[in-house]
Symmetry: C2
Subunit: 88 residues, 2 copies
């Protein structure tokens, strides 16, 4: 799967692990992070976003939400892509 | 849970059932349908949207996507709300 810089693919780990990873990225200078969830992990990606919002509040904003589908192993899977930006 | 007119809450039924329900609403004159998924059903709500897009193509557009969290039974649950509009 394509993985861009600052893209976090939410998958097997706990929500808290992704939250920590993303907050660390933002603290280390990332201006924007993309949170991606595919198939069953779409809901978890939204959980990650909500927990980051709880922790950082006005420090971030949700820049955009994209949904769509992509092929993997000949199956079509839905995905969500949440673009989160740092706010100063 | 609050349920607005033209809101379809994706839950226990099959994806195909929700797709049929929504296409019927659009065919019967609805200008806009809101597809909501809560918790584990967020991914299924996106599946429903993607299948409707497959079937109706340019006949619909995704007007907006909202995500957030709401309380239910003292737990906080993430949700997604997909606003789909008919295009002429």
């Amino acid at each position: 799967m394509d993985k861009k810089p600052n893209e976090v693919l939410v998958s097997m780990k706990n929500v808290e692990d992704y939250v920590l990873e993303i907050i660390t990225m933002l603290n280390q200078g990332a201006e924007e992070v993309e949170i991606k969830g595919v198939g069953r992990d779409i809901g978890k990606a939204v959980d990650v976003y909500n927990m980051i919002l709880d922790k950082l509040g006005n420090g971030i904003k949700l820049d955009s939400v994209s949904i769509g589908s992509e092929s993997r192993d000949k199956k079509r899977l839905s995905f969500i892509l949440l673009r989160v930006k740092k706010v100063y």
